[in-house]
Symmetry: C2
Subunit: 438 residues, 2 copies
């Protein structure tokens, strides 16, 4: 395979085009460095809105943006579709699916993936939702199972197809359960006159005593009340034992017949080979110092979800949210320029801008510093913050129109099964589609 | 499997939710009939804009519309995702993937698929573009091959990845070659600074002496000139002999190294089992009488691309265009109501509203009765006609915004490789995706 020709400038190799990686590359524009980004996809994913792709309210392409297009015009930037296989720190290279690539500075912005905590059965049958293909698979599954329910008669037979169990009540679980409840309340009987609302259940479960555990007590209570008012069954202090594709079993012996289990109970860092196991922290994150440099290295950085910056002030690292990745990306770009110039570096300080989570129409919860509030105003802020954070003017407009249409009609979204999903098929690392009959 | 419960009204079973099937169902709203539609997809595809999905200018969901949503509120309408397997005319039932379904009147609106004229090698390696999954596969292939070219060095190595050969210069071939030329002229070097325009060739070939053979001489000449001015190499009177995935060979011995052959050289009707071979006409179309009733049957109709209405006035049937399907659908709905009421039926008359084809920015050709013109005004009409024909207010708005953005920036579209396409993989009848790593 080829190596990528070098320029006269030191090369900063960024692995991953998420919030963190994007920020590093952007901040290095017009600087005397050779910026090379690799990602296994040619687009950036705006993960906070993935759940709207899964429920068919938004299209995949509204929340994704071409990495090439984003950096078109940034002269020191190059991009390659490639997957990182191994870091060879001793010779400053990485092995990738397109060959060996050299670097002067390496930024690991590889993010996180769903953590099934080693349960292979759950991993096989439960649906994760951390990427666009996963969100599209989930959408197909939801719609296929509703279609399947239409073909059956009687509550008993339909039950497993129309029970939706969401495991993990962080923002993803809360937002997705809210969106599914709205699908039931406003769309189900319109699109499927054969079914009745009572046939569909949305159940949100968590091992912790309250939902949105990372947010304030007020946010937990507010979102709990909102979800309950929309008909979501919220179960806290509940642990999942198993799921075999037809029935989910809880530790207390309780079971629910369902074919739809959505797993958002945890994430773990995506760590490449070549990183010493000794510096892997809880959640499979790589230990870094206060400038995001990984333990024991002079020129390898980790940022965002894959990084655990363990310092006296942050003994557990930072939360796995977009703002941390963005701010770390910003800091690492500056740090690399300082290192190149032999200037002293400064430790990273996280500025917490607050947290938002939406539950549904007119309903969101906000923790902004000491300001904690729930309801319509929080929902307006949530929409505003997400719209301005989306990459690309076209995406902002298209999402805005979709939201407006949904708000006015109670029935946004296309809900198309473009590619059928088959959970019985053998799992594969990456999809390579063959020809379809269409 | 289940049968679908009957109502007290005679059942009209419509197979296919394309332009024709949609029209039949719509015209039967509020009538004393039980309308049941089956389609293998849960959406209607607006085929005239598929080429913009393939080149990444539009999203799949902008040109597709949920069949359930479209008929939500039409009380006598029901829908099932199912594929027709066999017509059992003697007992008025069809076999489908969801079981046997009875009918009183059957409307075959199954449309057409790509015709490779029996050449299995070409069928394997060339890309068709008759459905949304096919258009998405083509998009992935185009983008993957450009990415592949970036990894290679030198014109010789890159050539097969950047040569695009379109076989068949009907509206699809003409529109797609225009869109590819615009990708080269306005986007290629912006997104891929490693490449130069001269590396990418777009070649449109046809066996006939002129392109857009079904339109006027003026339209042929106009589109030919437009394409040439955009850098498309137009080759007429040329017949393809073979394509092995790396090289296309023509009858005159001429060859072109390419991995991208897009086949739009012909279509054939999708005829189910159970229809007598004796009534199959050229292009695999089913012979019908002047009320679209298939030869030898009292209650089975065929409309649109799958129908060949052979009468004295139309010895070759009608052209395979949306307008024919829509008008036939309209006529068949009325005819069925007349048959139910024992009223006399009237023969179908096609009203030709004219033809339009677009070549690119500001460039289209129009044959509207005696009025034949080319250029900016034809392009405005083309856009207007396509916008108003799209199903769904949201789709009209989203497409309009995308077109406006593309017009203003010369760079619309997201161009994301959401699912990789692999032409070496074994072909499969329908895609069933397994889990992806995302």
């Amino acid at each position: 395979m080829n190596t990528i020709d070098k320029t006269k400038f030191p090369r900063v190799l960024i692995v991953g085009g998420g919030f963190g990686g994007l920020q590093v590359a952007k901040k290095l524009a017009d600087k005397p460095v050779d910026v090379l980004m690799i990602d296994k996809h040619n687009y950036h994913t705006f993960q906070p809105l993935l759940y709207q792709v899964a429920t068919g309210s938004l299209e995949a392409d509204s929340i994704a943006f071409s990495l090439r297009k984003n950096f078109s015009g940034q002269k020191n930037f190059r991009f390659r579709i490639a997957e990182l296989q191994k870091v060879n720190a001793e010779k400053n290279t990485v092995d990738t699916t397109i060959g060996e690539i050299t670097y002067d500075y390496l930024v690991l912005a590889t993010g996180s993936t769903t953590n099934f905590f080693g349960n292979k059965e759950i991993e096989h049958y439960a649906m994760p939702m951390k990427s666009i293909p996963e969100a599209l698979n989930l959408r197909s599954l939801i719609l296929q199972n509703i279609e399947e329910a239409v073909l059956l008669t009687g509550k008993e037979e339909r039950e497993p197809y129309l029970n939706f169990v969401l495991v993990g009540a962080g923002p993803t679980g809360v937002e997705l359960s809210g969106a599914l409840a709205e699908l039931r309340n406003h769309i189900l009987t319109e699109d499927y006159p054969e079914l009745s609302k009572e046939h569909m259940r949305v159940i949100l479960v968590d091992t912790m005593p309250r939902i949105l555990g990372a947010m304030s007590e007020q946010a937990s209570k507010g979102s709990h009340d909102f979800l309950t008012s929309m008909g979501v069954e919220v179960m806290v202090n509940v642990k999942v034992n198993s799921f075999d594709g037809n029935e989910i079993k809880f530790e207390d012996g309780h079971t629910i017949r369902t074919k739809n289990v959505i797993w958002s109970a945890g994430v773990m860092g995506v760590v490449p080979d070549g990183i010493s196991k000794d510096i892997i922290q809880r959640g499979n994150r790589i230990k870094t110092d206060s400038i995001c440099r990984i333990d024991g290295s002079a020129n390898i950085f980790a940022i965002g979800d894959v990084a655990a910056m363990i310092t006296d002030e942050t003994p557990k690292g930072h939360p796995g949210v977009a703002q941390v990745a963005i701010q770390m990306g910003n800091h690492v770009a500056k740090t690399i320029l300082k290192l190149i110039n032999g200037e002293p570096t400064a430790p990273f300080k996280y500025f917490d801008k607050g947290s938002l989570a939406t539950v549904g129409r007119n309903k969101a919860v906000a923790d902004l510093g000491k300001l904690k509030f729930q309801g319509f105003f929080a929902w307006i802020i949530w929409m505003f913050v997400h719209l301005i954070s989306l990459l690309g003017f076209r995406n902002k407009i298209v999402v805005f129109i979709n939201w407006t249409m949904s708000y006015l009609t109670y029935n946004g979204g296309a809900r198309l099964i473009i590619r059928r999903f088959n959970n019985e098929a053998p799992q594969q690392e990456e999809e390579h589609l063959a020809k379809s009959d269409g």
